[in-house]
């Protein structure tokens, strides 16, 4: 049964924690996907999901129905994930052999083939970590989450031109990074 989001929000605004529980159950997987793509680590992504839903509970009275709930929610998740990224120091080493191998697999196999979360996280991190924050977010929301440009503009408070420009530069950077990984793998195969 699909959740009646408007009704749920009204109940949550009155302090109904049962309605909030239903909302968490409905959206936590979506929230995790976005958080994981930004922080590229399962544990950090789980922290981001929890923090984001707590923020949603706290700020639910500021939600305006003119905005799509998911847009509002993704905005909170993106901001929380970016804060998390800034606060953590990445010391764990990424094995370039593993990442380039995965990259090669993905470029050859069917796009629907499922890979382990850890490996995928490492690949996203490798290709996007050198990008500026805005470019990285635009790339994740547009190309990985598959959102339309209008939603990206609303989530990141950017205009159409800015989104286009950031996306262009992000894709350019990612293409160069992926080419390096693929040529690295081909050298040894």
């Amino acid at each position: 049964m699909q959740l009646d989001i408007e009704k749920s929000i009204l109940q949550i605004q009155k302090g109904d924690s049962t309605a909030f529980k239903t909302l968490v159950e409905e959206y936590q997987q979506y929230a995790f996907k976005l958080a994981f793509r930004i922080v590229c680590n399962e544990d950090d992504a789980m922290d981001v999901v929890q923090e984001s839903f707590i923020k949603i509970w706290k700020k639910i009275n500021t939600y305006k129905p003119e905005i799509k709930f998911t847009t509002w929610m993704y905005k909170i998740i993106s901001n929380t994930a970016i804060d998390k990224l800034r606060s953590i120091k990445r010391n764990n080493h990424i094995n370039i052999d593993d990442v380039s191998l995965l990259c090669d697999r993905m470029s050859n196999e069917h796009p629907d083939v499922q890979v382990d979360n850890i490996e995928t996280g490492q690949l996203i991190r490798t290709i996007s970590e050198s990008l500026p924050e805005k470019q990285k977010l635009v790339f994740i929301l547009k190309d990985l989450q598959g959102m339309d440009s209008n939603e990206v503009e609303n989530i990141l408070n950017m205009n159409e031109t800015s989104v286009k420009s950031n996306l262009y530069h992000a894709r350019k950077g990612i293409r160069e990074k992926l080419n390096k990984l693929l040529s690295y793998e081909r050298r040894f195969s």
């Binding site: 529980k21 997987q29 999901v49 707590i54 993905m106 996203i124 190309d143 262009y168």
Partner: protein, 216 residues
């Protein structure tokens, strides 16, 4: 069309799944190695990105995450209510402080009022005492006339006498100040009574003054 424009078209074609590729772009790709390489790399990138996009990224143990969130919200509500309680107790403390301050101000008013009363009482009794012991008729109209009429030494004697009389009591400095301030506004019939009667010089001056008046 230049290579830069072709590459933009390739981006649109590959990443936006825009099928509106025109013949010019296809011909250019076939004849330009750089753009051909760019196109092939873009296709590979697109494939990897699509694969990353199609990954499930499932949240493990979602029930635990839900429970954690709800627990934290519950604690948050408790913290909020305790914050409200502590805010109320702070308000009560502020009210108590305000009441204490009000009481302290009333007390200060009473103490200073009493002090004032003592000074005024002292002045009045001094005036009374001096007037009974003095035979000097009242003829000066103000304090300045007294100062102008009597030599400087007499005026200084007058002030030092007042100070001497008050110095034996507590808070004499404060009282002297009030008394002197009051003297400057006092009616002359009262002021002249403060003149030191023991002084010979004063007696002489008083006698000569009386004589002068009688002559008039």
């Amino acid at each position: 069309m230049k290579c830069k424009q072709i590459k933009e078209k390739i981006d649109s074609l590959v990443f936006e799944s825009n099928d509106q590729s025109n013949l010019e772009v296809i011909v250019h790709i076939e004849n330009c190695d750089s753009c051909k390489k760019y196109y092939e790399e873009s296709l590979l990138s697109k494939k990897v990105i699509s694969s990353l996009r199609n990954q499930e990224y499932t949240l493990k143990y979602p029930e635990i995450i839900t429970d954690n969130i709800l627990d934290r919200i519950e604690n948050l509500d408790i913290t909020d209510s305790s914050t409200k309680r502590s805010f109320t107790s702070k308000l009560i403390k502020i009210e108590t402080i305000q009441r204490l301050l009000a009481a302290a101000s009333v007390l200060l008013l009473v103490v200073f009022g009493y002090e004032q009363f003592i000074v005024i009482d002292k002045i009045l009794s001094l005036e009374e005492q001096m007037s009974t012991s003095s035979n000097e008729p009242a003829h000066f109209k103000n304090y300045n006339e007294v100062i102008a009429f009597y030599p400087k030494q007499v005026t200084e004697n007058l002030i030092s006498t007042i100070k001497d009389r008050l110095s034996k009591k507590k808070n004499s400095k404060f009282r002297s100040m009030i008394l002197l301030a009051r003297l400057s506004k006092m009616d002359l019939t009262q002021q002249k009574q403060f003149l030191p009667k023991q002084s010979n010089e004063k007696d002489n001056n008083s006698t000569s003054l009386t004589k002068k008046r009688k002559e008039r």
